[in-house]
Symmetry: C2
Subunit: 250 residues, 2 copies
């Protein structure tokens, strides 16, 4: 990661369109832009690791990030994906906080605006609405994580994979010349397994089965969703009880 020079005007535009700074008075936006600096990050690089002291707040302007968690044994769990324009590391608003998870760049290059936590704190003090928005962001992530937890606890693997794919089409979907949706990020079987709490074998088998049914097309680190409706049906399918017996006629 390194700092680069970019026109301040560009920064202003991104800031203006971010949900976090949106609607602030013009003077405030200029102050925000003035306190920011640009930085870039390249493929597979880490923006920060979970446990690092949260010294910077970022605005992701170009590229995408993976939210990952590393287990004590070194296994990685993917909690999600961030696409521009998104705020990253709001936890830097808290003095002496640590980042709760690891951020990894998955595009050849990502571009971010960065504020050190002192600047962020100063901005929040000056514009208290930023404090409320920070809270809202954190609780939003909490609710999202809760949903993931619930799915992991109650759904079968096939449904979890289906949901992951549906989410990915929303977050990184690129329309396809024949009506499908390409998931526009490098996405290996192992990645999908890490997102759904399963193994790469099961993901592979599931995708193979879906490919035969024309639901998806997949290749090396690449998935194209052909029949989104059917995928959603699988995701929402409530499994019939194991021994479904035909009710006897009266």
């Amino acid at each position: 990661m390194k700092t680069i020079a970019l026109p301040n005007q560009t920064a202003y535009a991104y800031i203006q369109h971010s949900r976090y700074f949106q609607g602030l008075p013009e003077a405030a936006l200029h102050a925000v832009a003035h306190a920011a600096r640009w930085c870039t990050i390249s493929s597979e690089q880490y923006l920060f690791h979970q446990g690092d002291p949260a010294q910077h707040f970022y605005l992701l302007c170009e590229g995408q990030l993976r939210l990952i968690q590393i287990t004590p044994e070194g296994k990685q769990i993917i909690l999600g994906l961030l696409s521009p324009i998104r705020e990253v590391g709001i936890v830097a608003a808290i003095p002496n906080a640590e980042y709760p998870l690891t951020m990894q760049c998955l595009n050849p290059t990502g571009t971010l605006l960065a504020w050190d936590s002192a600047s962020l704190t100063a901005l929040i003090e000056q514009y208290p609405v930023l404090a409320v928005r920070a809270m809202r962001m954190v609780t939003g992530r909490f609710v999202q994580l809760q949903t993931l937890y619930r799915e992991l606890a109650t759904l079968r693997v096939e449904q979890r994979i289906a949901r992951a794919l549906v989410r990915l089409t929303r977050q990184a979907g690129v329309p396809d010349h024949v009506g499908g949706t390409l998931i526009g990020i490098p996405l290996s079987r192992q990645h999908l397994a890490d997102m759904t709490g399963t193994t790469l074998y099961t993901v592979s088998r599931t995708l193979s089965a879906w490919e035969q049914q024309g639901i998806v097309t997949s290749g090396r680190e690449r998935v194209i969703v052909r029949d989104r409706e059917r995928l959603i049906a699988i995701a929402d399918d409530v499994p019939s009880s194991p021994l479904q017996i035909e009710p006897p006629p009266c």
Copy 2:
């Protein structure tokens, strides 16, 4: 849930000892106590449901609460337990927010202090450190939930149950006259299953096995941990690979 009259002096004492209000100037504490009202809740009653508009912030003074999440199909998932003195519903600091989960009382009676969100907002505005602490609380819960998620994704059922029991001894452990630790809340097999993402059958079988090994003693809605060390060993056990072959001598 109803409002009751209790001496304000008592409220002051609880507030003073809460992590959230701790260390505020005396005048502030008095203001906080003045804005509060008492309420009680009884066994199995809900303090609020997930999705309800977050209109109150609480301080749990007596009794315990279950944090639960209800799935669309009506299945319940238990995310944890709160014991006094704990803050509840900090999300009320955000205008127009909703509670992200459901709180249920599990003691015959629980006692709480309540502030409506307007009072809370006013207090936060007056003492900005409360905003920082609110953020810290929410991120703390986030990290906890993340840990649960990781465990659910990577650990086997037996380990998850062991961890749940270890946590419960910390949160509701009552020392026993013969060196064990009684978990001092009503805790059925189903509850344990809802906490660990498994079924009551598996919990029952696991506890039975542990009982034979002298690790726990259990009865109707009651578990006593006899050998905490062994439980921790199970919780941390890294399973040997399925086909562990003795390496051949050179």
